[in-house]
Amino acid sequence: MGVVINVLKVTLEEGLMYALLAFGVYLTYSILDFPDLSVDGTMPLGAIITGVLILHGVNPWLCLLAAFLMGAGFGSVTGVLHVKFRIRPLLSGILIYTALLSVNLVILFLFNDGNSVASFFRKPTIFSAFPASLIPETVGGLYIRQLVVSLVLVVACKILLDVFLRTKCGLLLRATGDNAGFVTMLARDPGRSKITGLAIGNGFAALSGSVIAQAKGSADQQMGVGMVVLGLASVIIGLSLFKGARRIRPTTAVIFGSVAYKACLSVALALGLPTEYLKLLMAALFVLALIAGDKPVLRRRLKHAA
């Protein structure tokens, strides 16, 4: 029984941490209608920046901010490639992802003594430093700090994102994904809106990288593999789960999607699926979600709900 509860807890934790990534994908893919592949690079970028900074004694909460800003920086480069140089969305993302493969290694090489993994197990993280230190470490034998901190963080980000999407800037962003010509008629450059959206989306991806690295106590390039698929799957599963439910905000649906996706993977692993099959299963689940979600209909609804 204890084992099952622990698996549930870990699944929930991971689902929440990856929900931050899914927020970013929701923003770029669903709202801006921009299939952004740079996420595979900006997520480990956030992790690696965090690892290096924590090793240099930087406050772990500040690392979250640093990761978000770095992710946002590279996300806006993806946007500039697309908007200013008219490179197709997919290609812009792949180019930034490819560039980040090197950038991430260079950061590790320069600031981590050439080690390709930044390990900081004994250093303070957002899960151990103040104010997390105020939370009791265990309740009934279960380590709950990670769960509580992730939950607070995800809910805070969800509220911020919801509020942002209802500001003038947020509305303009939604209009950009919907009808760029409309934005032009408002005498605004829809390109600038796209760049803003990609910056925030990749900021969230890097933020999730930072949180996941802090939970693991290490960071490396490998963490980014398959992140686009994971993020997209969470978004699509979440939004199709709550298809008819008008009252559920899409950001909430995305959190549930992320947890549900992680749960499917946990179940498969618990049933004895060898870990090398994990990415295959991730892709297969995503395909299922796409088919079940009946994409075009889903996307229309999703934007209605936004």
Partner: protein, 258 residues
């Protein structure tokens, strides 16, 4: 003159065997407050003229003067701050996934910063209701409905309200009733005329409907191969009948060897 096109030249596919000369020294001026209806067969240059005015097509030579200022090299985005445009496609003038309220609030903010302030201002609902009431379609009671669920006619009415709600100096109507059924088309045309008369907005309306061109507007311009072949205003325009225009159309066809 509020708007002047001066000696416009434009070729399509210049330097290829498909080269098509459209404008060779085309000039056209609209005084402040005038409502011009523009007609002409396909390929006569009506829509290209609108694109040149709005900045989405660039002439090879010539000048575009707006309110005394040369705007030839001003971007389409900048020009949109004084120009409102309604397209043929009702989907083009609104955002399907945003609610009526959100669409109006976005347009209401035109000319100001799109910052982190509240997207939908609380105290403007009544103002938006009043604007929508002009359409007489009951849209004022559906502020929170996503625009994608409206009919083509309703969407075009909303697009018209949106295009005219800010302080624009010039309204461009690009066959804006052509995609609608006859009844909606009529409703939209009546609404258009009301809005224009109420505010005295300078308007250029391209239409394929000869009756609208004859009935509405202070001036009628008929274009053919990048030139104006009929240009009547005032009493001369009032004396025009649809049959007169059809005769001109036929004469042109005969001239073309059809």
């Amino acid at each position: 003159m509020l708007l002047e096109l001066q000696d416009i030249h434009l070729n399509f596919n210049a330097g290829t065997p498909d080269e098509m000369r459209l404008f060779e020294g085309f000039s056209f001026g609209v005084p402040e407050g005038e409502f011009v209806s523009v007609i002409g067969s396909n390929g006569s240059g009506k829509t290209t003229m609108l694109n040149i005015i709005c900045g989405t097509a660039q002439p090879e030579a010539g000048k575009i003067v707006f309110d005394g200022q040369d705007i030839t090299s001003v971007s389409a985005v900048k020009r949109a701050s004084w120009i409102g445009r309604v397209f043929q496609d009702p989907k083009a003038g609104t955002c399907a996934h945003l609610t009526i309220l959100e669409n109006l609030a976005l347009a209401d903010n035109k000319g100001r910063a799109y910052n982190l302030g509240r997207g939908v201002p609380k105290n403007r609902r009544e103002h938006y209701r009043a604007l929508l009431r002009q359409c007489a379609m009951g849209l004022e009671n559906r502020l929170d409905t996503p625009v994608g669920t409206l009919s083509g006619g309703q969407r075009q009415a909303l697009a018209l309200i949106i295009a005219t709600m800010s302080d624009i100096r010039l309204l461009i109507l690009d066959e804006h009733t052509a995609a609608l059924d006859p009844k909606s088309s009529e409703t939209i045309m009546v609404l258009t005329d009301e809005l224009i008369q109420k505010r005295g907005i300078t308007t250029v309306m391209v239409t394929h409907n000869l009756r609208y061109a004859v009935t509405y507007g202070d001036r009628l311009l008929m274009m053919h191969q990048g030139r104006s072949v009929v240009d009547k205003r005032g009493d001369e325009k009032r004396a025009l009948a649809v049959d007169d225009l059809l005769t001109v159309f036929n004469d042109i066809s005969i001239e073309m060897g059809n």
